[in-house]
């Protein structure tokens, strides 16, 4: 879990160009981290690449926060 959080956090910081302290598990990509819908698409792609997983579109729609991403990815990579 912590490893996933760390890697997700790194991707979010890189892609959204935000300060590390803002990237908490509760942080919403759009409401808190300044992302738009296209950034979200790109983030999901970056997660797929980093963790070598596939995130289907319907699942991607529910990934709105850092925590959502960590939870989904942790379940996938088990």
């Amino acid at each position: 879990m912590s490893d996933v959080l760390e890697r997700v956090t790194k991707i979010v910081i890189e892609h959204l160009d935000v300060d590390a302290e803002k990237v908490t598990e509760k942080a919403s990509f759009i409401d808190d981290l300044g992302a738009d819908s296209l950034d979200n698409v790109e983030l999901v792609m970056a997660f797929e690449e980093e963790f070598d997983i596939e995130i289907p579109d319907d699942a991607a729609e529910h990934i709105q926060t850092v925590g959502d991403a960590v939870k989904f990815i942790s379940e996938k990579v088990g």
Binding site: H15, L16, D17, L38, V41, E42, M45, E48, E49, E54
Partner: protein
């Protein structure tokens, strides 16, 4: 009739960025052309271009150099993923032009009365190329959501409008190498006609990538004989010319309704006095041999301006340094000017910056405006041995000082699309 004046200028060119730096270097006879080093050119017949000198080392730039282009100063690395370089250059030049004009919208009404018309000849070619490779190698799920907004031509206008809150007409011209001239002419018409009081207009281009160079080599348009001496490669009217050298960058002007500009005490560079357009209806890439298309666009611009050929002091030629085109344009100008050809100065600034395709007409319009402001016509570099005799002073290798009350700028594009714009000193 509402008059239209130029109140702001922005330049991103192979001679550097910023109005005065570029102009000074242009008048001094410096060349912005060099070897391409940011991609493989071993298998390309043309290995040279006019690149914008950048802080990231591209185009031979270094941090701290005068006029160097700093991508970070325009947008964060994050935002740059959403734009191709042609958009980046267009945004930077528009920022400079608006700052230079001293005008920013204050009220909602101001915003509604200000628009953008920035075109590009080709748009995000490198973005499209890279995306095609990704699609082929990795499949559709690996394509960035930013590819389309990064390569669309009208996204320069879109980005500039978002950045500065300009909610009036939002438009983009696509007429190959005539784009920049058409954009200024069309935007001036919108202001003149009352659709807007302020228009940010011009062209942007960034096609110096493998696909861009290889594509223009394939249609036999580029210089291939000067790879070891890039500064000598663009030589309009010279007998040794062998094609154009591709340049990149952007030229943007702020066009403003005269009373609007006067009321706020704006500095006025020049008035956009005439605009003419024509089509060759002849060939997809070659200019019609009789030069009639260019002749008619120039004639229409003069008529629109209410001027006679003898009123024009300087012509900024299309003059790309291709074997065919230069002489055809020269003959058309001689035909139009008749007895007034003697004493007329006509130069091709492509000799110094190369051919910026969709941005060419805009930066050359700006050079024409600055010629009026300073009473000096920029030189045609590398003109050692003219291939034809003419009474026109082609300003070989040195700027020509003379009062310029009226200047005409020509742009001709693939598909046989011609535009001429006449600028005059503001009264």
């Amino acid at each position: 009739m509402r008059r239209v004046v130029v109140t702001g200028i922005g330049l991103v060119t192979p001679l550097g960025c910023g109005r005065e730096v570029v102009w000074e270097r242009l008048l001094a006879g410096r060349s912005g052309l060099g070897k391409i080093e940011h991609f493989e050119t071993d298998d390309l017949a043309c290995k040279i271009a006019g690149l914008v000198p950048r802080t990231d080392g591209r185009g031979g730039g270094r941090e701290g150099d005068a006029g160097v282009f700093d991508p970070d100063s325009v947008m964060s690395a994050r935002d740059r993923r959403r734009v191709d370089d042609f958009i980046l250059y267009g945004i930077a030049a528009a920022d400079e032009a608006l700052a230079d004009s001293g005008w920013e919208p204050q009220t909602e009404e101001d915003k509604h009365r200000a628009g953008v018309m920035i075109g590009s000849g080709i748009g995000g070619l490198e973005t499209t190329y890279n995306a095609s490779v990704d699609l082929h190698e990795k499949g559709p799920r690996r394509l960035s959501p930013f590819i389309i907004p990064a390569m669309l031509i009208n996204l320069v206008s879109g980005q500039v409008s978002i950045r500065h809150g300009l909610k009036g007409p939002n438009h983009a011209v696509v007429t190959a190498c005539s784009t920049g001239a058409h954009a200024i002419g069309d935007a001036a018409r919108l202001v003149s006609r009352g659709d807007a009081d302020v228009m940010v207009a011009g062209g942007a281009e960034a096609t110096v990538c493998r696909l861009g160079i290889a594509g223009f080599i394939a249609c036999k348009a580029l210089s291939t004989g000067f790879n070891d001496t890039p500064e000598a490669a663009s030589r309009p009217y010279d007998k040794d010319r062998d094609g154009f050298v591709m340049g990149e960058g952007a030229g943007i002007v702020v066009l403003e309704e005269y009373e609007h500009a006067k009321a706020r005490g704006a500095k006025i560079y020049a008035e956009v006095k005439g605009y003419g357009l024509s089509g060759d209806a002849y060939h997809i890439t070659a200019p019609a041999e009789d030069g009639d298309g260019g002749f008619r666009s120039m004639s229409a611009a003069l008529k629109d301006a209410g001027l006679q050929p003898g009123d024009i002091d300087y012509v900024n030629a299309h003059g790309t340094s291709t074997p065919l085109g230069d002489e055809i344009e020269l003959r058309a100008v001689e035909r139009l000017f008749g007895n007034h050809a003697d004493g007329l100065v006509m130069s091709s600034t492509k000799s110094a910056v190369g051919h910026l395709l969709g941005a060419a007409g805009a930066i050359e319009g700006i050079f024409s405006i600055l010629a009026i402001r300073d009473g000096v016509c920029p030189p045609t570099l590398n003109l050692d041995n003219p291939s034809v005799e003419t009474d026109i002073n082609l300003a070989p290798k040195a700027a020509v000082k003379k009062p310029v009350k009226a200047a005409l700028s020509n742009s001709f594009g693939f598909g046989g699309t011609n535009a001429s714009v006449v600028f005059v000193a503001a009264e």
